[in-house]
């Protein structure tokens, strides 16, 4: 079975900095792939190349390829808007819009011009269900999204992404701003979501990576040092640097 996303010798530069060096990996469909590594090692930057969010950085330059279903997303003919519908993103700080819960979730479909074709009420309800938030907000859909707790806001952001029916969901340290209970809820949600989506998560919490993912990649200074099945990476890593990092012996 072909991997959902493949990167081939992907490098990313902005200005004189080279943030990602020559990364080649496969992201498998309907599984969770975790990217770990110390702060500033390029894993978030790498994640953003997968939905071209790095395009907005001035002086950004890409080398190599990123293939989504075997098609290079950096080709000129690719519609970035369409790409971002297929590859959604959840950020580290929950960032719901200063609008109502309903408006937040309906935002994506509306922007893509699907407001007329779809029954937005259904879409919103379905997405909030899928994000395990419906029960908590169904009587208050017109309350501001910012009135929710941190964990709820993050699930709202997930619902917002699900509303455009993506194929891949990228998560950039989604739980680092949340308390442990909310974190566990979201980890469980991630496991459920793999039934229908492919998930790539960047996390600095290694045990979280060990808990949720099937595949793990270790980044250091922009390079992918080691990539493999999570159980192998965490019980018998092959590279000394991986071993040192995950057992906490990084100086």
């Amino acid at each position: 079975m072909d991997p959902k996303i493949q990167t081939k010798q992907l490098s990313f530069h902005y200005g004189k900095n080279c943030a990602v060096k020559n990364v080649t990996i496969d992201i498998r469909e309907h599984q969770i792939t975790a990217l770990i590594g110390p702060s500033g090692c390029g894993k978030s930057t790498f994640l953003r190349t997968l939905n071209r969010m790095n395009d907005i950085i001035p002086e950004a330059r890409i080398e190599g390829e990123v293939l989504l279903d075997k098609q290079n997303i950096y080709e000129r003919s690719v519609d970035v808007v369409e790409l971002r519908k297929r590859v959604g993103m959840v950020f580290q700080q929950p960032n719901p819009f200063p609008k109502s819960i309903f408006e937040n979730v309906a935002f994506g479909p509306k922007m893509l011009g699907l407001g007329h074709k779809l029954n937005l009420d259904e879409v919103v309800e379905k997405s909030l269900h899928a994000a395990a938030l419906w029960g908590e907000v169904k009587d208050n859909l017109h309350k501001s999204g910012l009135a929710l707790s941190g964990g709820q806001q993050q699930r709202l952001c997930i619902a917002r992404v699900l509303a455009v029916e993506p194929e891949v969901i990228l998560m950039d340290e989604p739980c680092s701003a949340l308390d442990p209970a909310s974190t566990l809820k979201i980890e469980e949600l991630m496991q459920d979501l793999t039934k229908n989506y492919t998930i790539v998560i960047v996390t600095h919490n290694m045990l979280q990576a060990a808990r949720v993912s099937e595949w793990t990649g270790f980044f250091l200074l922009g390079e992918m040092i080691e990539y493999g099945k999570t159980v192998d990476i965490f019980s018998r890593p092959r590279d000394r640097r991986t071993e040192d990092y995950i057992s906490g012996r990084f100086g």
């Binding site: 369409e82 519908k85 819009f97 200063p98 309350k143 501001s144 910012l146 952001c157 992404v161």
Partner: protein
């Protein structure tokens, strides 16, 4: 003098700061209070609704001045909004950080500090004379637009920049285009700040004299079209105080003006708080 301990310095500073604040507020209250006390007793409905009759004793009321003021405020704001907010969006969202942008910013900042009489003379030469609009509400409004554009651009740009970057990112990540993210997310979030900026401009228009003195003319007749001349409340106050000896009427006009400005400022505060509350706590 012996070196003071930290505690005494603290006390001294506190006295000094409290004193300054107190004096400032006192002066403010004295001025406003004086005008209101002297001016409000003569305020009557007929005063508001009768036209000024002119003459040495300043007969009549201020109805035409009220109407002229309303016209000029509306016209100025109507012309001001799109260029002002548009330029703000450009500077905040699209402009690259290069020499051209820096020149534009420098120009905007400098113009914001130019005295209004300079704009008045500019308006006189261009709008009144060269374009043959002559002394009119139109000339006044166009001159005011030039005066206020830098201010509106600055306050709107601040309001737009205050919208957290994460909102834009979230919108883009959902597949919105750049313009969609600005129109549907950034502008609505920046709206309270922009509205505050507009209302500040209204406040300035109400207070303007120098600029309008040389562009609106001094007609006390009811304006019939955009090309009619007229006088705003502030100008009428000026004329009353200088050309006539109807000081009491001048005070009353001043009182009306102050009341209007106080009301507007209250509205600004109310809007700001209400929008902040809505954004932070949820309606």
């Amino acid at each position: 003098m012996p070196k003071m301990s930290a505690k005494s310095t603290q006390k001294l500073a506190k006295v000094f700061i409290w004193g300054s604040g107190f004096i400032t507020v006192l002066i403010l209250f004295l001025i406003i209070g004086y005008v209101l006390v002297r001016g409000l007793p003569q305020l009557s409905l007929s005063f508001l609704f009768t036209a000024p009759q002119g003459g040495l004793s300043g007969e009549g009321g201020i109805s035409t001045a009220i109407v002229s003021t309303i016209y000029i405020v509306l016209l100025t704001i109507a012309i001001l909004i799109i260029p002002g907010i548009g330029a703000a969006i450009y500077l905040a969202e699209y402009a690259k950080d290069d020499w051209l942008t820096r020149i534009i910013r420098y120009g905007v900042d400098t113009l914001a500090g130019v005295p209004s009489i300079v704009f008045g003379l500019f308006g006189f030469v261009i709008f009144v004379t060269a374009l043959h609009f002559s002394f009119s509400i139109l000339s006044g409004a166009l001159t005011l637009v030039c005066l206020l554009l830098p201010t509106l651009i600055r306050t709107s740009e601040e309001a737009i920049k205050a919208v957290p970057r994460s909102h834009r990112e979230a919108a883009l990540a959902l597949g919105a285009t750049r313009w969609q993210s600005i129109w549907h997310v950034v502008l609505p979030a920046a709206l309270p700040g922009i509205v505050t900026g507009i209302i500040l401009c209204i406040g300035r228009i109400l207070g303007e004299t120098a600029c309008l003195y040389v562009t609106m003319g001094g007609s006390s007749a009811m304006p019939t079209s955009l090309l009619s001349g007229g006088r705003t409340l502030a100008l009428h106050l000026f004329y009353l105080a200088t050309d006539t000896n109807a000081m009491s009427k001048a005070m009353t006009t001043a009182a009306v003006l102050i009341v209007v400005i106080l009301v507007i400022n209250t509205i600004i505060n109310w809007i700001s708080h209400r929008f902040q509350a809505r954004v932070l706590r949820g309606a």
